[in-house]
Symmetry: C2
């Protein structure tokens, strides 16, 4: 459909705020008098605290509180002024014994559907190097750092389990007493009957693939501050994707009523899923309680943030595929081991989610998925852009390429024989594919990279620098339905001049959601963008409830709430216009700040006059607002493809990306410029994932080796080629304005496309990423290329 504002590359609503420095982030709200919190991390990957002596730390002038697992604040005491202020908690709660989960999922009324609760604010048992043993609150950061050094801890060392293999071996010590064989979960599925189907296949192929631990490296580290307000509530300002979930988890971690916590989210400097986890807020809350409610600031350094927040799960896959001679896959079996590190976080759901989103791309008669998520004594893996799909698609899109090679088939043609079609209903989720542009995406990608010409050009290569082409496809989802609740809220308040404020539960974290929401409102209400004022800050006290920014849900799921809110305002405007003009509301529409005749576009009455009437009509005054909630019980499946051209330096093992294109079917693109930005960011992240990024640990001790931005090889602008983005806009009937998700998808397919291009160039199949120069060099030696 043709729209006025939707589909246009309008400027971000926060562009000026951000380039002028007026946009305020969490730390911009820090005040000079705030106390500073710092954390004592375990130096051992697996150990029990035998004794802990904080007396010297406590005695240091400027130290206001020292917390350990055994003396977390008594909430009732800390916040009570006897006779004046009642205590926050109504029951006696031993905070030190409370367990909670940190994953940023909506709460579930179904107990079996809740996240694993295996975390305490501070622990007696260190489960990874970096685990939180104690904490200090002091008047400044230097004193706090000094106090940490004065805490004397005696550890009993346990065997560090630094790999899933070690964790799974018979007799391995249990990382969590209540876990079986260090397995967090092993929930797979089988569609059809794999064993039967694979028997009928003409050929069977097997492959093994492996991904590494990487980290989000968002620009702004985790930071928060917390205090107890005069209403006796814990107020936390935090750089989070999920303020309403932070509220819940902080309350759970302290055993208090959820309404006793208020969370405020200002501008956020990136999250990529790492801020869809509640990492520092419970401890920050405990810190303020320990100092009588005074404000305490808690900020992680980069070195801390890289190991003490979350990482991306490393996966090992074994895939077995039965395929007929015509190229039709009939049976797929994927088994996976996911390394979730020391605590559950999102671990149990990420392996499942990967298998769920994979299902939409190549429907087969039989598909069996067997994931095991394993605890190890490494930093905690959690949500990260793609949520398991970069891993599974790296494996499968490498595997299908290997099959094509072995079958001597064009890998693109092989994929096309197996791609999903519109109308397909996923047998497990019951989601129906209502739109699908994957074939057009492939055609567009081939064209952009000049596939056919280059393919023949690079056919026979020798020499030190060899070029190759590769591609990979993916399917994704828009939000989490039907796995989790998809509730979103929006509120619109119209001013006297017809301009509006838009309040959202959904969080802007840099992705541009505020802008696309404003475009939707601008479109529906027929007002220019500058008349839509987005309240970018979320405050659990007043913002409509929304579970937050994750799962690529915002434009689709929260967009539905925005659309609903705007349509309600439009309805009210037209009702007032009807009262003023006697024209039936259904023949009217809104355009260019006017109520117009829907058909002819003829202007009937200025929006401003209607708005003024709504405020000041002596009899019928009723300011025009809407405050809606939408429970999305549907999902739209986006698709896409990466095409990459690489040049491999055989002697140095250096892989250079010559060209790379992502082509997405994400339904209607609300803002092409912002969409392109999403693709640039995702592909860049995918390039790092493919070629250079890996968080390294000493195998014997579990100590991190490169938890800093010098040694961790995030691609710089010098490593990043021009990235091409294109869109096939198959409007989905379920999405507002026909949108499907685009937030995470760009990260999913670059790594396998690059891997397949390297295979094309060198005939060497890398089944493990990153393909960094050392690993490439070793593999080339191994395969005899050098």
């Amino acid at each position: 459909m043709a729209y006025t504002v939707v589909g246009k590359s309008v400027r971000r609503v926060d562009a000026i705020a951000k380039v002028t420095g007026k946009a305020k982030y969490t730390d911009d709200f820090s005040e000079r008098n705030m106390l500073v919190g710092k954390i004592l991390h375990s130096p051992y990957a697996h150990a029990i605290v035998k004794s802990i002596d904080v007396s010297k730390a406590k005695a240091l002038p400027g130290v206001e509180a020292v917390l350990t697992y055994k003396d977390l604040p008594d909430i009732r005491y800390a916040t009570a002024l006897p006779g004046v202020i009642e205590a926050i908690a109504t029951d006696d709660v031993d905070v030190a014994e409370l367990k909670y989960g940190t994953a940023g999922h909506p709460f579930s009324l179904d107990e079996s559907h809740r996240d694993k609760e295996d975390r305490r604010i501070l622990t007696q048992k260190a489960r990874f190097v970096g685990d939180n043993i104690a904490a200090v609150v002091a008047t400044d950061a230097l004193i706090a750092a000094k106090a940490l050094k004065l805490i004397e801890v005696e550890y009993e060392l346990l065997e560090p389990l630094t790999s899933p293999e070690a964790a799974l071996k018979e007799g391995a010590p249990l990382i969590h007493d209540d876990s079986e064989r260090n397995i967090l979960s092993s929930n797979g599925y089988e569609i059809g009957n794999f064993e039967e189907a694979v028997k009928e296949a003409d050929r069977v192929f097997e492959g093994e693939y492996e991904t590494s631990i990487v980290q989000h490296c968002h620009m702004e580290n985790q930071v928060s501050h917390a205090y107890v307000d005069s209403d006796r509530r814990i107020v936390i300002m935090s750089s989070t994707q999920i303020p309403h979930i932070v509220r819940r988890i902080v309350a759970q971690s302290l055993g208090i009523s959820w309404g006793r916590v208020r969370v405020i989210k200002p501008y956020v400097g990136g999250g990529f899923g790492n801020k869809q986890d509640v990492c520092i807020e419970p401890l920050n809350a405990a810190m303020t309680l320990a100092v009588g409610g005074r404000p305490v600031r808690l900020e992680l350094s980069r070195e801390e943030a890289m190991i003490d927040t979350r990482t991306r799960h490393a996966f090992k896959f074994k895939i077995k595929t039965g395929i007929n001679n015509d190229g039709k896959m009939v049976a797929i079996h994927i088994s996976a081991i996911s390394n979730t590190g020391a605590y559950a976080s999102h671990g149990h759901s990420i392996a499942g989610s990967a298998g769920g989103k994979f299902r939409y791309l190549y429907p087969t008669k039989a598909l069996k998925y067997d994931p095991i998520t394993v605890y190890t004594n490494l930093p905690v893996a959690g949500a990260m852009r793609g949520y398991g799909t970069p891993q599974i698609f790296f494996a499968f899109e490498s595997h299908i390429e290997d099959i094509a090679k072995k079958l001597n088939m064009d890998p693109v043609e092989l994929r096309k024989k197996n791609l999903v079609e519109v109308g397909y209903v996923d047998p497990a989720s019951k989601n129906k594919i209502m739109s699908c542009g994957i074939r057009e995406c492939i055609e567009k990608g081939k064209e952009l990279i000049n596939w056919d010409v280059k393919k023949s050009l690079y056919k026979e290569q020798s020499g030190d620098k060899r070029r190759g082409l590769g591609m990979a496809c993916f399917s994704y989802a828009s939000g989490t339905y039907p796995v989790a609740l998809e509730l979103a809220g929006a509120r619109i308040v119209m001013n006297q001049d017809g301009s509006v404020q838009l309040q959202l539960g959904a969080t802007e974290i840099g992705q541009g959601s505020d802008t696309v929401f404003a475009q939707m409102v601008s479109e529906i209400l027929g007002i220019p963008m500058y008349m839509v004022h987005v309240i970018s800050t979320q405050d659990t006290d007043i913002t409509p409830f929304d579970t937050g920014s994750y799962a690529s849900r915002q434009t689709y799921v929260s967009g539905m709430a925005v659309e609903k809110a705007a349509l309600e305002v439009k309805k009210k405007v037209l009702e007032v216009a009807h009262k003023l003009t006697d024209l039936p509301a259904h023949v009217l529409d809104l355009r260019d700040q006017y109520v117009v005749m829907k058909e002819s576009g003829e202007q009937v009455i200025a929006l401003e006059i209607v708005a003024m009437q709504s405020f000041y009509d002596r009899v019928n005054a009723q300011p025009i607002t809407s405050d809606v909630s939408n429970n999305a019980r549907i999902n739209a499946i986006p698709f896409g493809v990466t095409f990459a051209e690489v040049e491999v330096d055989i002697k140095t093992g250096k892989i250079k990306i010559i060209e790379i294109y992502n082509v997405h079917d994400s339904g209607k693109i609300v803002n092409p410029l912002l969409a392109e930005g999403q693709v640039h960011g995702g592909v860049s992240m995918g390039i790092g994932y493919a070629l250079s990024e890996q968080l390294l640990f000493d195998e014997a001790t579990g100590k991190p080796l490169n938890n800093n931005l010098l040694d961790y090889k995030l691609p710089t602008i010098m490593d990043t080629p021009d990235i091409g983005a294109a869109f096939v806009e198959k409007e989905d009937p379920t999405g507002p304005f026909g949108v499907k998700s685009l937030g995470e998808p760009p990260i999913v397919s670059p790594a396998p496309a690059i891997r397949n291009a390297v295979l094309d160039a060198t005939n060497v199949a890398f089944n493990r990423i990153p393909m960094n120069p050392q690993r490439v060099f070793e593999k080339f030696k191994e395969t005899g290329l050098i």
Copy 2:
């Protein structure tokens, strides 16, 4: 009716915030980098600026901008970054030529009903000593003050008209070119036919009475700061009673769309009506525009605030009353001259409002009211607690006392013969008296002060110290209906534990409205007070629309919106409970955090379970909120009486108050302790009005003589007796929980009661207040008492 929370003296919701210093007022939000604005005031009461040279001021290092009437900022230029930020204004507007009104009234769609627009942000014609001629914005206050001294102004002096008599004399210069004979308005009314009715009266009495100019003296002076945000809007934080009206008037003063202004109101340190006027915000907005949108802070000193904001109108009354021998008044004629000072502000409506509210007390066959509101070259009079009624009731309650004396009737009995009864319909407003406890108030007051015993005890006095008793009655209103729009809004958001946030358009300015609103919500939802979190800050971007805090409208008018919002939430809670239990919603009620059987009180399901269901039911999730607006088209009339006992020191002229009681029929009292506080404050203000307060001016030049808290005699705690407060709770069917107004009423009747007590003690009738020692001494000499 019996309630659980309503009617109880619960602690103020902001008590802890205020006593611990956590409550943040406007200046607490000032930031170190803010520029400082200062104003150049006219030293002449009536003068024209012939020339103004700001070059020296502009040249002073640290001066960022100098504004005069002729170079107010070009809005288009100041806020535009060409090519990046569009200008705010869409039309060319000459701000220097824009006129606006400052009164905090709701806007009216009826042009004839709007406030007089006679003000410019800066003026070329000084109309009182203190008028705003120029302004400076500098990096700090010292530089700004120095710069003011460097501005060279040449004035052409005009005759200063320092009294209504001078202003009204033939040939007096016009203060405003478009005013006739310096008269702002002269809208009176006549009910019945006075001339005919008075002829039929048995006796006719006449009297003249006069009140003085006083000032509000709220603790927190006018203060605001303003900046242009990255959304290109002017954001103003201000200590105001009326944020939504500030938004409108600032926009009008600058000729921009109203939605381009955002106003935030934090805690306010008192207003008493003075902050129901938009005194400094337009200039503050102009200041930030003049410096490219950088934040500018504008705070008035006490000396400035006392003459450059608003004062209480001084009135002169002539009253003629026809009365029958049985004591029944049959015809009243009140003519009044109201001195409104240099600009209109509320002037035109205050004289009218006084006459309107007076009408309810003693209905007579004929009542004629002839007010004239006159411009003079004195500071601007505006809204102040009572809004004209302390003046008119001082006059009439003195007059009726004088009549009783002349008729040798008991003044209480005389009043009782004339008092209104339930069911009376005011012929002009059509307001119907639905509740009236004035007779019970009088009885209670008599009892409290031991009237009969003391009256006989003090009958025959001589000596230097003489005691006497006096009383005076009043009627008032609850809000402004039917004169103005009475729109109020409230929003409630329920949390997962059943606690709620309450967002109000109505402004807490110290009177305790947040607390009584929270009580109403607590009562209706059956949750304890600590589970109602009031958002005390108003922000025009997100707070429900409400015209603000004035006219004693909050508990009554805004209370209706709060009640409506809470009832909507209750309805939604019971609907969810119905879904969960199958019990019909109409048999259910809310009590003690439970859904209960309405009749038996038996607990059915915990509120928390209902709330959780509303958030997390996978199919029916719909968080429970309400966002309502209420247009109150009704008014309830409160009544009351003051009883005072005084001891007059004949030799010094010093009047000491021995006992004083105010007894109010304000309907249901939601919070007796807060109500008592209102009475204490109002009576204390009334004592100052009666005995000591007067803003003095040099008659020849109009220069203020005592615009500071040393020379202006505000009563101190040493001047204030124990004040007694009592209530006759005639629940009014129109008010939420039966309330009527109480905010302003306590100020209305103390002055005449004290005056009548002095008359009783000394036989000397003071027809002018304040009765300060000098005036008392002079009068005693004049009457031969000394």
